[in-house]
Point group: C2
Chain length 153, copies 2
């Protein structure tokens, strides 16, 4: 017998926005967007996706789980690298198709597969037409850890 | 004659991740994800999407533009409500399929269509299986402005 789906479905957009029932609005691929920020400093560390199982496990365990679209599998972030993400707070947005989690990161503290703390390590030049070259400036150039050490590649 | 596309295409994943060329990786719908945070306090205000034109206009003007998936149109946020978002900084993530913008918001300061400062106005209870009811707690209950005033609805 199949398990009951762990989440409710909102009766209406108004109910999803105004209520206290968690009724995630998964997209056609069964995913919600997850924005991950650091408890310390508040920087955005990464953007990822959760399916129902990843969301359930994140809520139950307090450790961030995602759905890897590239690998097509459930993914407890940090299982390979040691940089587990402990969720201090989770919020859901108005129409419940995105969650925001604030995390503390174990190990090296790197959340990016490049070994950097954040995936958002480059700033975009603003003002004027987008530059063809050199539009990006490294804000966080140095990895915290060598990705070859983390992942053996 | 068609305009040249304003953005480069990365030669490889490695080039996209390590380089200084802005080469957004638009998805099958032609969109990148945009995470929007407040300059003051750093809270996540909303998650939205940009097509190439919205991204170009945001970079050129320093005012946030999005692609509305529900309305199928380009959208300069705040044109109706008065709450324009001024971009203080833009960053791009490792594989360039998401941008993070830090904004200052005009007018009422509301970025959510419910009239609240942030779309993420409810926290999700953590620890234990997802609750069927009352899983959400209002963190920011009161709108800054009545949405009926903003949008006449």
């Amino acid at each position: 017998m199949a398990e009951a789906p762990p989440f409710a479905t909102a009766a209406s957009k108004a109910a999803a926005e105004a209520g206290t029932v968690l009724a995630p609005r998964f997209d056609a691929d069964g995913l919600v967007t997850a924005v991950v920020t650091a408890v310390e400093g508040g920087d955005v560390l990464m953007v990822a996706h959760m399916n129902a199982e990843a969301l359930r496990l994140t809520i139950e365990t307090g450790i961030a789980h995602y759905w890897s679209r590239s690998r097509g599998m459930l993914w407890r972030k940090g299982d390979t690298s040691g940089s587990l993400q402990h969720v201090a707070e989770m919020r859901v947005d108005c129409d419940q198709d995105a969650v925001w989690i604030k995390v503390r990161v174990d190990g090296s503290g790197a959340s990016c597969h490049t070994g950097r703390r954040t995936c958002f390590y480059r700033a975009v030049a603003l003002g004027g037409a987008p530059a063809a070259e050199a539009a990006l400036t490294f804000v966080e150039a140095e990895p915290l850890v060598d990705p070859e050490t983390l992942y053996g590649r």
